[in-house]
Each structure stands twice: as C-alpha cells, then as structure tokens.
C-alpha cells in the first residue's frame, strides 16, 4: 500500500516570494512521483515528475522538486511566485504496476499582490 501526505492545506504567499509545498510519501516498493496542478474550474495538469536519474526535476514554468529517498519526500519549490501560480497543487505516486495514481490531499497556493 502507498500513501501521500501534503502537510499544508493552504499556503498564502506574496508575489515574488519563494515558496515550498511539502509532500511526503510512504510505499513498500519503488515509486514514481508526480506533481499536478489544478487551476480553478480546470482539470489536473502534470507539472513535473520523477522517474529515475537526477533527483532534481524541473518544470517549464520555474517550479522544481527534489526526490529525497531517505526522507521519503518530494517537496515542490519555486524561488519567485507569480499571481498566475495561484492554484491547487497535488502530489502523487504511482506504483510499479502503473495502474493507479495515489494523490495527496492537495495544497492551495494563494499568491497575493
């Protein structure tokens, strides 16, 4: 069995400030890790993913996440946020069988001017 914990349900931050959204997972087997973003009234969009190789992965819009096996974490960071980053962010894992994603409860990022 696997599970994902996102400790912060809401993260308010001012525009151009740095942000970190925390994600911890538990699994008895190797997993692949994902961050999805959900803008208001839209579906989930893949932001970035870790499959193997370099533990630091980046998205095209400035987000990055680092896989830390010893701490079973996959925190999402951005050095300077924009108003347009306001959204719900979901961390997820997928098992080796690849037949289902297990999501965390989500973190609402609220960027204020």
């Amino acid at each position: 069995a696997q599970s994902v914990t996102q400790l912060d349900s809401q993260v308010p931050v001012f525009e151009e400030a740095p942000v970190e959204l925390r994600c911890n997972y538990s699994s008895s087997v190797s997993v692949y890790l994902f961050w999805y973003v959900q803008y208001p009234n839209q579906g989930l969009q893949l932001l970035l993913k870790y499959l193997s190789g370099s533990t630091l992965v980046e998205s095209i819009n400035g987000f990055e996440a680092e896989f830390n096996k010893s701490q079973t974490s996959f925190h999402l960071r951005k050095p300077s946020v924009h108003i347009s980053d306001t959204a719900e962010y979901f961390c997820a894992v997928i098992n080796n069988a690849g037949n289902m994603l297990t999501f965390g409860g989500g973190t609402r990022l609220m960027v204020k001017p």
């Binding site: 996102q6 579906g43 969009q45 979901f90 997820a92 989500g106």
Partner: protein, 112 residues
Amino acid sequence: GAGVSQSPRYKVAKRGQDVALRCDPISGHVSLFWYQQALGQGPEFLTYFQNEAQLDKSGLPSDRFFAERPEGSVSTLKIQRTQQEDSAVYLCASSLVSTEAFFGQGTRLTVV
C-alpha cells in the same frame, strides 16, 4: 479532440436518480482511469481499463457504481440510486504510457 473530454460538465441529480457520466479519452490511449474528487480533497482512484478490459475496480465505493468501456475507447461511469455522499467531481484520465496520464476537466455531480 486533442484532450480528454468529459460530459456533462455539471450534473444535478435528485437523490435516488441514476446518472451516466461520459469520458472520451485521447485517441489511441490504451489506459483509462476514473477518479472521484470530493470537495477539498485529492482525487481517489475508482477503476482502471486497459482497452475494453476492466483490470481494477477496487476503488468503486459500492455496487451502485458501474463503469464500462465496451469498444476500448469511450467510457461511461454509471451511478445508480444516487446518494448525497456521491456528490463530487468525477475525473477521467487516459494514458499511452503509465507515467503520463492526461486528465479531463471532470464532471461535477451534485445530488440534492
């Protein structure tokens, strides 16, 4: 279309009514998934198809929930005798490879 399409976008049902939610996956995607997202929570897995075969239905909450994908393309999630606790957003996703799932915009079901 270019993405996963779900219809209707919004559905209001009276308690006890049957509903059917449709998902049009991306053309050629073998795998199709249904998830349920309750208000303020993350999506939870319901069921998984590979082509027309339903390989995993362990997430379906009760026998009132039924999903099908008869020709390996369009899928329908049916909920019989809807209850208030069924109110949620129902998300469909499709994928060609397991590590790249594309989600539709979802159907928001409200049971009154």
